[in-house]
């Protein structure tokens, strides 16, 4: 959770100018719920097709069911408004044939374009040959697009020597993430050659998307691990309510805004001069499954809980301040407070865009809630974003007593699919 909780929040400060200055106008939308989300996202460049304009805050976003455009300069699912649900899957490429991998990426792109538009895969879920299994698995029939976004990433192992001839194209920024103190990583649910992040307001829509892409991949790529998420733990629309994480604290108060193009260009999107031209317009994704020791946390006194974070539990205000969005005074916090350690001022301005989700995978064999944060962070360069922040957190964060990082992965997330002739990863493979 680390930076996810609030650390990253503060991270934004360095580039905050734009977001803060435009904040008042958006602030007025606070409490409008879905409508606020819609406006924020629309301002982001029409990324979200009209959600609802009647402003009814009683209408959950999921009911609006809009489609997010699939084509664009950047992939949807990064700066676009965060949906309520997640199904994230990492894949191992099982074919050794580069042409087959390219074919898979093209097949995936075609299916993704259809599914994000709310359409079925291939020839649909029924009506075809009686002897053949239908192309589409069918569980999303009748459901709206639900703002489904599908975002692909390429892991370091895809660039390994002797695999697909990509070793010369591995970006320097796609680093191998070091092992941090206290990490207890499960290799079986870490890493991966490819990843697909499916976000939607309806869990069935997100699961349907991953299920169909996994099926299309069979024989070429196999699911290595996957994670379901609910209750977004951070938002790219700061004018909307700040969600709470599983520890009950508001999370992502100061996340990078999806409308702040200056901050996005500075901290999230890879620039043309960043070293790997094929990544221009893309981003780097770090995924960490962070298990929370929920029962221990729940037995912790309120004062300690607030000290651990450096914010109060009710309002979410930084220590000594009254409002959630008040500028934090770091020195007022304990030296090991999460917000203080994660703040950009403590990390040479390191800034990331967080898009994590809470998860609860039932209980472990000991009856403990298997819950926590599935941390997802996008940044222009991991070496200047996640790594310095996590190095600091892993060593000193008071929160470490209540959390454990159990999986880790990094992916190069290529730029957007421009039009119907383009496909995921074209710039890398061409």
């Amino acid at each position: 959770m680390s930076d996810s909780t609030d650390g990253g929040a503060g991270t934004q400060a360095a580039a905050d100018g734009g977001a803060t200055s435009s904040a008042p106008s958006r602030r007025s939308l606070l409490g409008w719920g879905g409508a606020g989300l819609a406006l924020g996202a629309a301002a982001a460049g029409g990324a979200v097709a009209a959600v609802r304009s009647d402003g009814g805050d009683a209408v959950p976003a999921a009911d609006t069911g809009a489609a997010v455009p699939f084509h664009g300069v950047h992939q949807a699912g990064i700066a676009t408004a965060v949906q309520d649900r997640l199904h994230f899957a990492a894949f191992d490429v099982t074919t050794k044939d580069r042409a087959e991998l390219v074919r898979l990426l093209k097949d995936w792109t075609a299916a993704a374009a259809r599914m994000t538009a709310g359409q079925t895969v291939g020839e649909g879920a029924y009506g075809g040959l009686a002897e053949a299994p239908p192309d589409d698995t069918g569980e999303a029939l009748g459901l709206k697009p639900s703002r489904l976004t599908l975002t692909i990433g390429f892991g370091p192992s895809l660039f390994a020597k002797g695999r697909f001839g990509l070793e010369g194209r591995r970006p320097e920024a796609l680093v191998d993430i070091e092992k941090f103190p206290h990490d207890n990583l499960d290799p079986a649910r870490s890493d991966g050659d490819l990843c697909i992040q499916a976000c939607a307001d309806d869990p069935q829509v997100a699961v349907h998307a991953i299920r169909n892409l996994a099926r299309i991949a069979m024989g070429r790529a196999a699911v290595r691990w996957s994670q379901l998420g609910f209750g977004k733990t951070s938002s790219t629309t700061p004018e909307a309510q700040t969600p709470r994480n599983m520890m009950g604290f508001k999370d992502g108060t100061r996340n990078v805004s999806g409308t702040d193009t200056a901050a996005l260009d500075q901290h999230v999107w890879v620039g043309a001069k960043d070293g790997s031209p094929w990544m221009t317009g893309g981003s780097y994704l770090v995924a960490r499954r962070i298990r929370m020791h929920i029962e221990a946390w729940d037995r912790t006194g309120l004062q300690e809980q607030e000290d651990v974070f450096g914010r109060d539990k009710g309002e979410g205000a930084p220590v000594g301040k009254a409002k959630e969005r008040d500028e934090p005074f770091l020195k007022a916090m304990k030296p090991d407070a999460h917000v203080r350690l994660a703040h950009p001022d403590s990390n040479a301005g390191a800034t990331i865009l967080r898009r994590g989700y809470s998860f609860t995978d039932g209980t472990d064999g000991l009856g403990r809630l298997d819950a926590g944060l599935f941390f997802l962070a996008y940044q222009r360069d991991v070496r200047k974003g996640f790594l310095p922040v996590q190095r600091s957190l892993a060593r000193h964060d008071a929160l470490n007593e209540y959390i454990q990082h159990v999986s880790s992965a990094i992916f190069a997330v290529p730029p957007g699919v421009r039009d119907k002739d383009d496909w995921w990863g074209r710039a890398l493979f061409s």
């Binding site: 002897e131 069979m218 196999a222």
Partner: protein, 379 residues
């Protein structure tokens, strides 16, 4: 394994065929006029009429040869319409069957072996059966032969196993256990189509219904590997397994098999692997799952190879993919045996999680295109 997955159509057909043989043959004694004469010798099979009307058809069989023979009336795909076995030299027997219009074959099998001496016959009148694709009929007939062969080959291997059980020889029985199952595993969808045999022979402990007595291979597997002893109860179960498998071997020729059921049967064999072998559930005591796995793949491949001439015309991309994936899964399996001609596979409890995952990925890679084979055949 799957407790009861009775194919209603199949069971009904088989029952009808049996009824035709048994129920009606007694009647035929009194009405032997108009019967079609089948004269069998060691080298010939003469039929007095090769074209006759649909309905109650009676055959008057005479064995003029020196060997015990049997006579079959067969559909074009070799499914048995009616049969009379054990006709000794010089004996006469009657056989009656309810026959619809269409093409059939009569086969005499001197020595009760092989595919027999064949004679084509045509049954006229009534509703004509729909036009059939001879290439697919040939595929089904060849698959039927394969299925019968597997059942025939299973009997001696099972005998080795049950003899060891009868002798109280735990080690011998352990060695003979997995080989005794190969023929069954290769043709499991057909074996399972007889809803009553599978629950008696291949049920796992967790598959038992309340009140059901646990019999068959897995019950003995548990006794051998977990208890390490053979008692009177086990000896009785060994005898029963022999009886049940002999029953299967006798009835397997009557199974309803169609080109699409062959294709789907191949897919089911892979599903079978994905469901119970990859997890190690099937052979949880003996850990011989990879032997079953191999047999399932072989059975699927046999069905596929027979359908391939048709499928490759209708969907060449699919058959290219299937060829590739069958080769891939075989190569993967070969990593778990030192001698490629033996069925001595690595014990499945020695196969690690990541290797199981790879096998699972391989099964999915094959199972997914295999699920499209039936459509490619039916097009």
């Amino acid at each position: 394994m799957r407790a009861v997955r009775l194919s209603v159509v199949t069971a009904a057909t088989a029952a009808a065929a049996l009824a035709a043989v048994t129920g009606c043959s007694s009647k035929s004694d009194s009405t032997s006029d108009g019967a079609i004469k089948v004269t069998a010798s060691d080298k010939s099979c003469e039929v007095s009429k090769t074209e006759f009307a649909a309905g109650h058809v009676q055959f008057a069989i005479e064995n003029k040869g020196s060997k015990v023979t049997e006579v079959y009336l067969l559909f074009p795909d070799d499914r048995i319409v009616a049969e009379r076995e054990n006709i000794g030299p010089g004996l006469k027997q009657n056989l009656t069957a309810e026959v619809k219009a269409g093409s059939y074959e009569i086969a005499c099998k001197p020595g009760m072996k092989g595919s027999g001496i064949r004679q084509k016959v045509t049954v006229t009148g009534g509703a004509q059966t729909p036009k059939r694709d001879p290439r697919l009929d040939a595929a089904v007939a060849a698959y039927r032969t394969y299925v019968q062969q597997q059942a025939d080959d299973t009997l001696p291997k099972l005998k080795t196993f049950t003899d060891a059980i009868a002798a109280g020889d735990v080690e011998g029985a352990k060695k003979a256990y997995a080989p005794s199952r190969i023929g069954w595993e290769r043709t499991e969808p057909v074996a399972e189509s007889f809803g009553d045999i599978d629950p008696k022979t291949d049920t796992r402990e967790d598959g038992l219904e309340k009140g059901q007595t646990w019999t068959g291979w897995h019950r003995l597997e548990k006794a051998l590997w977990t208890d390490g002893r053979i008692g009177d109860e086990e000896k009785k179960l060994g005898v029963q397994l022999s009886t049940d498998i002999a029953d299967w071997q006798k009835r397997v020729g009557t199974a309803e098999i169609t080109p699409t059921s062959m294709a789907n049967g191949a897919k089911e064999l892979l599903d079978e692997v994905a469901r119970n072998k990859i997890t190690g559930e099937e052979e949880r005591y003996s850990h011989t799952d990879l032997v079953d796995f191999k047999a399932n793949v072989e059975g699927a491949q046999k069905a596929y190879e027979l359908l391939k001439p048709v499928a490759s015309k209708n969907d060449p991309a699919l058959t290219a993919e299937l060829d590739k994936q069958f080769a891939a899964i075989e190569a993967q399996l070969d990593k778990y045996r030192t001698d490629k001609n033996s069925y001595d596979f690595t014990s499945y409890d020695k196969v690690g999680e990541s290797d199981r995952k790879q096998l699972s990925d391989g099964v999915n890679a094959l199972g997914e295109p295999l699920s499209k084979l039936a459509a490619a055949v039916a097009k």
